[in-house]
């Protein structure tokens, strides 16, 4: 059931499912159905979706340690690229719709406001990840270097959740839940590292 072939087969469905929200929000935005403050709503939804997808890619790696779920890792690249897609939409909503390409203002905003700084760095770190997500790139860089580059997903996830945490004015429950999940997933990796060499002996 959890064979590589089946995971590969599920890809087109997953593709549509993950793409769908962006199309829906775009449609709702254009038709004036995103509520009273549509630009804010669009930015929030896109950002939250991106954060969730980033966390899912981390989860996939952890799940793939379970023997029967080993093949789930074939879904990781697509979901990671979708995370980048949503981050790009989130960022361009901020630049184009929220601030109307007022670059002077935007640059000041990025420098002065910690939560925007976190979000921006997170976005920058995602660029090398997304641009090396092809089989060809893995070959060209070599798996070791490629893997090193892809460790950037950890600062990306931490900064993205901090971006959300600082944004919330009161009741930080939701961002804390996301941070908690990220920390658990990172602890799982550290634990694996620490125990693996002993097993090898």
């Amino acid at each position: 059931m959890f064979s590589t072939r089946n995971f590969n087969r599920s890809k087109p469905i997953l593709f549509i499912l993950i793409l769908f929200p962006s199309l829906l929000w775009a449609y709702q935005f254009v038709t004036g159905n995103l509520g009273v403050n549509p630009i804010e709503k669009l930015m929030d939804e896109l950002g939250l979706m991106a954060l969730r997808l980033i966390i899912i890619t981390l989860m996939i790696t952890s799940l793939s340690n379970i023997k029967t779920l080993k093949s789930i890792v074939v879904l990781r690249r697509m979901i990671g690229l979708f995370a980048f897609y949503y981050v790009c939409l989130h960022f361009s909503t901020y630049i184009v719709l929220d601030h109307f390409l007022d670059m002077k203002f935007i640059i000041q905003d990025i420098i002065k406001r910690p939560f925007i700084t976190f979000g921006f760095i997170s976005f920058l770190f995602l660029i090398p990840l997304a641009s090396t997500s092809t089989n060809n790139m893995i070959k060209r860089l070599g798996f070791k270097l490629w893997k090193k580059i892809h460790y950037l997903i950890y600062p990306v996830a931490i900064l993205a959740s901090m971006h959300f945490y600082v944004l919330v004015r009161a009741d930080k429950t939701e961002p804390v839940i996301y941070m908690g999940i990220i920390i658990l997933l990172l602890l799982h990796r550290i634990f694996k590292r620490l125990t693996r060499p002993q097993l090898a002996q």
Partner: protein, 305 residues
């Protein structure tokens, strides 16, 4: 000190105008159960439009009542609209205490029978960098202060929101230290722009907007305009206020709208007027500079933000 005629319509202008907004059945039903002492009146939105500045347009009733910051009902903008249905606003009393001749508790109906309800169309600027234009009905806070007879030693006024976690689901969680508290300096409280509002668009104040009675201080960020007030205290020292207590590096006691003093999370230089696409420049004191700038002539506004 004068208030611009363009911003206020005398109540008399349409005391007898009793048109329902869009003939809404809900408002009609509401009106039948409304005690006359609540002194609200339905009216034609075009009446308010006459009192607008050139650059301002009224926000719709729907915008004003479905996009609110009222954490007592939840932290999302739509929560107050969705979660405030069980909130009971009658009977309602306001306790007056502190440095007053005679501390006492007033029935809201009694207060309202002693004041003049007027229309005030004000801009509301949220610290989160969005804004609206709202037609309120209410009376000058100064009228209530005169009824309360504070001593001359009273330099500040503190306001307290009702605490009823069973009716206000947001209060079941300690997002802020309940009950919500706000405060004004006495001269700010006495300023003719400062009102206690009991209605908007000619309707009874909707629960999500701070029923049955709330403060409106149009030159300050929205969080100063405390909702559902049950207690007013007169003090000789500056009172603690909720947001300042929670994050003093972000929110000050004064909280005057000021495009030149940035907030760590939001640039205050621009704002999005709800309903508009492009941001607009934020005005000093939210455009009420002429009326209130004199209150702060000796104050360093970057320090006392």
């Amino acid at each position: 000190m004068k208030i611009l005629g363009s911003e206020i319509t005398p109540y008399n202008t349409y005391l007898n105008r009793r048109k329902f907004i869009k003939g809404s059945l809900a408002s009609a039903m509401l009106a039948t159960v409304t005690s006359s002492a609540f002194a609200n009146h339905e009216s034609d939105p075009s009446v308010y439009s006459k009192n607008l500045n050139e650059n301002d347009k009224l926000n719709s009733y729907e915008e004003i009542t479905t996009y609110n910051n009222f954490y007592e009902f939840g932290t999302h903008k739509k929560h107050p609209h969705l979660n405030s249905g069980n909130f009971k606003t009658r009977p309602w009393t306001i306790k007056i205490d502190g440095l007053v001749k005679k501390p006492q508790t007033f029935d809201l109906e009694k207060i309202l029978s002693n004041v003049t309800i007027e229309d005030r169309v004000y801009r509301l600027r949220c610290v989160e960098a969005w804004s609206m234009v709202i037609p309120w009905q209410g009376f000058q806070l100064s009228e209530l202060i005169k009824m309360a007879e504070p001593f001359s030693s009273a330099k500040y006024v503190q306001f307290v929101t009702v605490f009823r976690p069973e009716e206000m689901p947001g209060q079941q969680k300690r997002t802020i230290i309940w009950p919500y508290r706000e405060g004004l300096r006495m001269d700010e409280a006495m300023n003719p722009l400062t009102i206690l509002a009991t209605g908007l668009y000619g309707h009874e104040m909707p629960n999500q907007n701070g029923a049955p009675i709330r403060l409106v201080v149009p030159w300050k960020y929205g969080f100063k305009s405390i909702k559902s007030i049950v207690e007013i205290r007169f003090l000789d020292t500056q009172p603690e206020t909720s947001w300042e207590t929670l994050a003093p590096w972000e929110y000050g006691f004064y909280a005057n709208v000021n495009p030149n003093v940035n907030h760590p999370r939001w640039s205050q230089g621009t704002e999005r007027r709800i309903g508009e696409f492009k941001r607009r420049e934020t005005l000093m004191f939210n455009g009420y500079e002429k009326e209130v700038a004199h209150l702060y002539k000796d104050l360093d506004l970057t320090k006392f933000y």
